[in-house]
Structure formats: structure tokens, C-alpha cells
């Protein structure tokens, strides 16, 4: 990857934001559920808002509510948070080829807003090529962030009548988004083994392990397969 800066401006911010309204809607429905569960768990409105605003990681926040009570098990809470969010390490690494060309403030500031949905949208955009912009993740993340915060507050203060998102098929929203992005990422037969192995390992891990370990396990297995399959195609051998 060549050195030299990557464009980071308003146009990229807006492009990322505009692409993200469908996933922001899905995030909003889950934010409502989080807010409602926060009330049941006895987490105050200010506490729920602070958690959504500073942690901004849905899965680990739901796990935290599960542990919430008069005497918080801090060690368990922090270890679970790490386990559930460890997948971010792989996701951040995958942004490296682009984000290493931003200033530290641009890159590490944007990364605060890294979430599964915005990350996937950003990489799908970068995979399409053309004029890519470093501010895309930030634009996408800010829209999702706004939806998550607004929904947390709304769900916390006005819970009545809130049903299960599954009733409206909304639990499938993230699956559909990720399916569409994955479809755009396919490159051909070279994907079969890494993706197949990722599927197999993640399914087995999901049965054996709690939380989100299956994402890390499946992605590591599949990406290792891709590394092992690698051939030095640029230089002819002997």
C-alpha cells in the first residue's frame, strides 16, 4: 500500500452518513429494547445514556444489563466486555490499509465510532474502489451513534407497548445488511475455503462458547486459511 494521505473531508462524512440510514433504523429498534431492559434492570436514565454514549457497543451493553444488580461483579463485567468486543481488534486491523494513511487524530477518533454495521459498510465501500474517503466510517458511525443514543433514551423513559423486534421481522435487518455486504465482497473461488471454514468454525463455536466468541473464532480460522492458501503471484518462482 502506497504511503501518502487519504482524503478525509465533509464529502466522505456525508457519503458514509447517507449510506447508513437503513442500518441506523435497525440499530434504533435495538436501542429501544436496550432502553426498556435498562429500566427493568434498574439502571437509571442517566446511567443508560452514559453507557450508550461512552461504551456504544450493543452486545456488551446487553450483557452488562444481565449482570446488573445491587453488587456489580466488576471483574466478570469487564472480562465479558473484553470478550464480547475482542472482534473489534480484527475489524480495526482490516481498516489498516486505509486508516494508516490518516492522521492519528482522524484514525483513532473515527475508531471510537467503529461498530459492526458501520465497519462493514465502510469496507464494502472501500472494496468497490473509486474515490474512497477516510471520513466514511465517521459519517456512518455518527448516524448509528445518534440512533443508538436517541433510542436508548426513548426506550428508557417510554417503555409501554414495546414489543419484540422479531414480531416485525426486524431481527433479520442486520442479517440482511450483512448478507448484502458479503455478496458485494465476493471475489470468486478463492473465497470458498476461507468463507466455508469461517462458517463451520463459527457455527461450532456458537454452540460451545457464550457471547460473541464465535465471530472471532470463525474469522480467525477463515483468515488463517486464506493466509495458508496465499501464493506469491507477483514474482515468478525459480
Amino acid at each position: 500500500m502506497s504511503a501518502g494521505g487519504l482524503l478525509f473531508d465533509r464529502a466522505g462524512l456525508l457519503e458514509g452518513a447517507r449510506a447508513s440510514w437503513p442500518v441506523a433504523l435497525g440499530v434504533f429498534t435495538y436501542g429501544l429494547v436496550f432502553g426498556a431492559l435498562a429500566r427493568q434492570a434498574g439502571l437509571g436514565a442517566a446511567g443508560a445514556l452514559c453507557m450508550s454514549g461512552f461504551v456504544f457497543a450493543g452486545a456488551s451493553q446487553f450483557v452488562a444489563l444481565d449482570l446488573w444488580g445491587p453488587n456489580l461483579p466488576f471483574a466478570g463485567l469487564f472480562i465479558t466486555t473484553l470478550a464480547v468486543n475482542l472482534r473489534h481488534v480484527l475489524m480495526g486491523a482490516a481498516l489498516g490499509p486505509w486508516f494508516s494513511r490518516l492522521t492519528p487524530l482522524q484514525a483513532y477518533g473515527s475508531l471510537f465510532f467503529l461498530c459492526d454495521e458501520s465497519w462493514a459498510l465502510t469496507l464494502a465501500r472501500y472494496a468497490r474502489g473509486g474515490a474512497v474517503n477516510g471520513a466514511y466510517l465517521l459519517g456512518s458511525g455518527l448516524i448509528v451513534y445518534a440512533a443508538w443514543l436517541a433510542a436508548t433514551l426513548l426506550g428508557r423513559v417510554a417503555v409501554a407497548g414495546l414489543g419484540d423486534p422479531a414480531r416485525y421481522g426486524l431481527d433479520f435487518a442486520f442479517t440482511a445488511v450483512f448478507l448484502a455486504l458479503l455478496t458485494g465482497l465476493r471475489r470468486g473461488r478463492g473465497d470458498i475455503l476461507p468463507w466455508g471454514l469461517a462458517a463451520l468454525v463459527s457455527v461450532l463455536a456458537a454452540k460451545a462458547l457464550p457471547g460473541k466468541w464465535h465471530i472471532l473464532a470463525g474469522a480467525l480460522a477463515g483468515s488463517l486459511a486464506a493466509a495458508l492458501m496465499w501464493r506469491d503471484g507477483d514474482r515468478s518462482r525459480g
Binding site: L43, L72, A94, A107, L114, L170, V201, S202, L220
Partner: protein
Amino acid sequence: MAEGWQTALAVAGMALITYLTRAAGLFLVNRLRLTGRAGAFLKAIPGTVLVAILAPSILGGGLPEWVATAATVAVAARFANLPLSLVTGVGLVWLLRVIA
């Protein structure tokens, strides 16, 4: 109900740990020049992460989810349009669950 200081400590700890997971990946690849085999590993991450998110949840579903999965992929492959794929998947899952 947890005390105020407990909430503050819980949120602060979770926030710090979560941000570190977000920053660590870029920090590491910025320090290790990843080319060749390691570069292939890095390039494969987007696809394998998505597969690993999707596979257990799709397999854990039933006929509505499987039909919607096939339709979503078909629409995405044909039109490369995210909102359209989303509406197709969610709409079909909702419809099939109502019928079933």
C-alpha cells in the same frame, strides 16, 4: 439498583476496554508491516468476519430465515442496492412468519 459510583465505575471500565479493542487492531497493523501471507490474512478479514457473524444466526433460524437469506443474496447480487436488499429480507421474513 446499583449505587451511583458503581454505575460510574462500570461504565468507565466498559468504555475504556471497548475503546482499546477498537484502537488495538489499527495500532498493531501500523507497527507490523503486513505483506505477503500476513497481507492475505488481513485482506480476508472482512469476508470471514461477516460469514462468522451470519452463519450461526442463519443456521439457527427456520424456513422463513432461509428463504429470506436466499432472496436477499439474489437481490444483492443482481441490484447491488443495500436498502432494497434490506427491505427484501425483512419483508420476506415478516411475511413468511405471519403465514407460518
